[in-house]
Amino acid sequence: MRLHTFKIGGVHPEENKITADVKTKNAALPKVAIFPLGQHIGAPAKPVVKRGDFVKVGTLIAESGGFVSAPIYSSVSGTVAKIDTSIDATGYRKPVIIINVEGDEWEESIDRSEKLETLDEHSELTPENIIDIIKRAGITGMGGAGFPAFIKLCPPPTAKAECIIINGVECEPYITADYRLMMEHAKEILVGLDLLMKAAKVDRGYIGIEENKPEAIKLFTQLTADDSRIEIVPLAQKYPQGGEKQLVDAVINRQVPAPPAIPVNVGAIIQNICTAYAVYQAVMKHKPLFERYTTVTGKQVKNPGNYLVRIGTTFGELICACGGMPEGDNKVLAGGPMMGKSVMSLDVPVTKGTNSITILSGNDARRKAIQPCIRCGKCVDACPMGLEPYLLAILSANNLYDRLENEGVTSCMSCGSCQFTCPSHRPILDNILQGKGVVMGMIKARNVKK
C-alpha cells in the first residue's frame, strides 16, 4: 500500500535518529534557571515576581502580556535572583527572570501521581473550561514555532474546525523526543487528544506518524482499535512533513491556501504530540507547562539521550550530562539540523519550544564552499510551498523587495529544503530569510498606515 504524504516538493535528509531507543531520563536540576519572557510568538510575558521572592515549582512568575501571549511558570523552587537581560539563541540580549535553585518544592495543587485520568471520569469539564485551563497553563506549540495553543482552538468566526490532527511526524533528523514521548506516554497523549477534541467541539481526531516509527504506529493503532473517532495515519517519510500545511495535505488531503489562510480555514487544527501531552497534564494533573522532552544528540556526543528537562536549564548543563562537548569545532543547534538555530553561547536556556539540542561536529559543523548557481532547478522541485527559491534568493540579494513580496516570500516557512538540496551549496535560505524579514516589516508598516 502506498502511504500518504504531501504532494509538492520535499527532501529526504539522512535520518540519524541515534537516540530513538534511549529511554528518557530526568535531567538534573539546574543550579540557576533562566526564563526568557518571550518564549512564544506574540507579546512577551510580564513578570509578576520581584527580586528576592521565593517561588515553588509551578508558581506563576510572568503573566500573559497580551492576547497572543502566554504566561510562564517556574520550573524550579528557589529565590528570584534578578530580572535582567540575557542572551538568547541568536546572541541578542532579551529580558529574562533568573532564579537561584533551592531544593525541589512543588506547588501543592499539582497532582504528581502516575494515575491515568480519563475524560469519562471528568464529565464536568466544558470546552470553555478546557480552553481556559490551556490558556492559563501557558501551553504553546511545542514543535518549535511556539504559537500559544489556546488561540488555535478558538478559530475565527469565518472558519469551522472539523478535526484535530496530532503531529507525531518528527520529520527532522536526529530528534527523537516526540518518539520517546509517544512510546512512554501513549495513553496520556490519547486523553490529551480527547480533551483537545472536546475543546474544539469536533468528533474526528487523527494522529500522523511517519513510517520510520513502526513501533509507535503499532502501539497507537492498538490503543485506538475500539475508538472509531480517532484514526492513526501512517505517513511516508519525507521532510518537512511536520509543517502544518504539509501535514494537513498528507493526512486529510486538503490544501491550505497562501497566507493569511491557516489550517483551520480548511477545517483542521494541528497540535504537536508534546502539546497534547502538556494539555493532559494541565487539565488532569493541574500541572502548568514547565518541563518538556528534549533530545540531546550528535554523532560525536559521548552519551546522547532523551531528557525530561525543566525549562530554564542551560544548554551547557544538559550537554555536560551527556559527556560534554566533543573535541574540535562544534555547532550547537537549538532544534534539529534542518530548522534549528545555532546558538552563540551555552548559557542559552531550554525554552518551551526547544525539542532538541543537536551538536554537529567536525565537517558537519561547517558549510561547504559556495559555488555558482547552475540553474538546475532542484530547489524549485524541493520547495514544499511551491515557491521558486533561487528567484527569491536573487531578488532578496538585490533588494527588490516589492517583487519578492509578489513572488510569495511570506509563504516561506524556512524549512531549508532548498538549501539542503542545492548542489552548489548556495546560501539560498539565508538570502530569503533576510528578504522575508524586510517584506514582513513593509507589510506591518502598511497595515499600521491603514
Binding site: 546572541g91 552563540m344 546560501p427
Partner: protein, 283 residues
C-alpha cells in the same frame, strides 16, 4: 543606371516627407522645459547618489529651479559638489547661496579584533544585513560593526574601505561626500553623518552599545559603559546619555576634548588633532 537613379529619388522623397512630418510633430508635441533646469543639471556632478534627498541630479535641478521661482534655495545642498557647486548654481539662478558646513561619515564602533574578542564563528551568508537578521554576530556585542562591508559596497565614491587589520570600515575623508548611502545601508546604524569640523577636528563616541556597562565592557574593552563622566565634565551641555550610551551633539561641542581624557574606557575619540609633544617630567 536607371535602377540607381530610381532608388536615390525614392529614398530622397521618403527622407523629405519624413523630415517635414517630424518637424511639425516636434513643434506640436514639444515639451517646454525651463532652460535653467538644463543649466543647473550641467553644473551638478551627475553622481545621482541621492544624497541631496532627491531622485538623482535632475530631480535636484528641478527642485532648485522651483525653489528659485519661490524666492529661496535655502536648505538645498549637494553633498558631493559642496559649496563650490552650490555657489555656481546660485549664480546661475541669481540667488544667494546658503553655505553650510561640510559633513562626513563616521563609524561609531571601535570593536577591533583586539578590543572585542570573537566568541563564535559565523558561517552563513556574508552580508551585514543577513547576519543582523539572524544573530548578534561573532562577538558578544549586539550593537557593533559586523564587518562584512555592506557600507563598502553601497559607497559610490570609493570612500569607505575595510581595514583588514581591524576588520572595521574606515572612511576616506577626502573622498567622502556625505551622501549618506552607508548610513542607510548599515543594519546596525553605526555610521553617522557628523560635521567635518574646523580643520577636520572631530570628537565623538566611537561606540553604539546600549547594554548596561558591565555587559558592554565584557563584550568589548573600548565600549561606552554609560558611566556619565563625560556628561559631567562637559561645560557646553553637548553630551547626553540615553540607554547607557553617550552621545555628543556636534552643534554644541566646542572640541575642548575634556571628555576624551575623562572617558574611562577610551570610547570617546578625537580625530585629526595634532599629536601633543610629550612633556618629559623629571623625576
Amino acid at each position: 543606371m536607371n535602377f540607381i537613379l530610381t532608388s536615390v529619388i525614392a529614398l530622397g522623397a521618403i527622407a523629405l516627407i519624413s523630415s517635414v512630418v517630424l518637424y511639425f510633430i516636434s513643434k506640436k508635441f514639444a515639451v517646454k522645459e525651463d532652460p535653467r533646469i538644463g543649466k543647473v543639471s550641467a553644473l551638478l556632478p551627475g553622481a545621482n547618489c541621492g544624497g541631496c534627498g532627491f531622485a538623482g541630479c535632475s530631480g535636484m535641478a528641478c527642485a532648485l529651479v522651483a525653489g528659485a521661482d519661490k524666492g529661496s534655495i535655502e536648505g538645498f545642498r549637494c553633498p558631493v559638489g559642496g559649496d563650490d557647486v552650490m555657489l555656481k548654481i546660485a549664480d546661475t539662478l541669481g540667488m544667494a547661496a546658503a553655505s553650510s558646513e561640510p559633513f562626513v561619515a563616521v563609524v561609531r564602533c571601535n570593536g577591533t579584533c583586539d578590543n572585542r574578542p570573537r566568541i563564535a564563528e559565523y558561517d552563513g551568508l556574508h552580508t551585514c544585513a543577513a547576519i543582523n537578521s539572524t544573530s548578534a554576530g561573532e562577538t558578544g556585542c549586539g550593537y557593533g560593526c559586523l564587518g562584512c562591508g555592506d557600507c563598502v559596497s553601497a559607497c559610490q565614491f570609493d570612500a569607505i574601505h575595510m581595514n583588514p587589520d581591524t576588520g572595521l570600515p574606515e572612511v576616506d575623508e577626502d573622498k567622502c561626500t556625505s551622501c549618506g548611502a552607508c548610513v542607510k545601508v548599515c543594519p546596525r546604524h553605526i555610521i553617522e553623518l557628523r560635521k567635518k569640523g574646523p580643520k577636520g577636528h572631530r570628537v565623538y563616541v566611537q561606540c553604539a552599545n546600549k547594554d548596561k556597562g558591565a555587559v558592554a565592557k565584557k563584550a568589548c574593552s573600548v565600549a561606552c559603559i554609560g558611566c556619565g563622566k563625560c556628561e559631567k565634565v562637559c561645560q557646553f551641555d553637548a553630551i547626553t546619555i540615553e540607554n547607557n550610551l553617550s552621545y555628543i551633539d556636534f552643534n554644541k561641542c566646542h572640541m575642548c576634548i575634556k571628555c576624551v581624557d575623562e572617558c574611562p574606557t577610551g570610547a570617546i575619540v578625537k580625530i585629526n588633532f595634532p599629536i601633543k609633544k610629550k612633556v618629559e617630567v623629571e623625576a
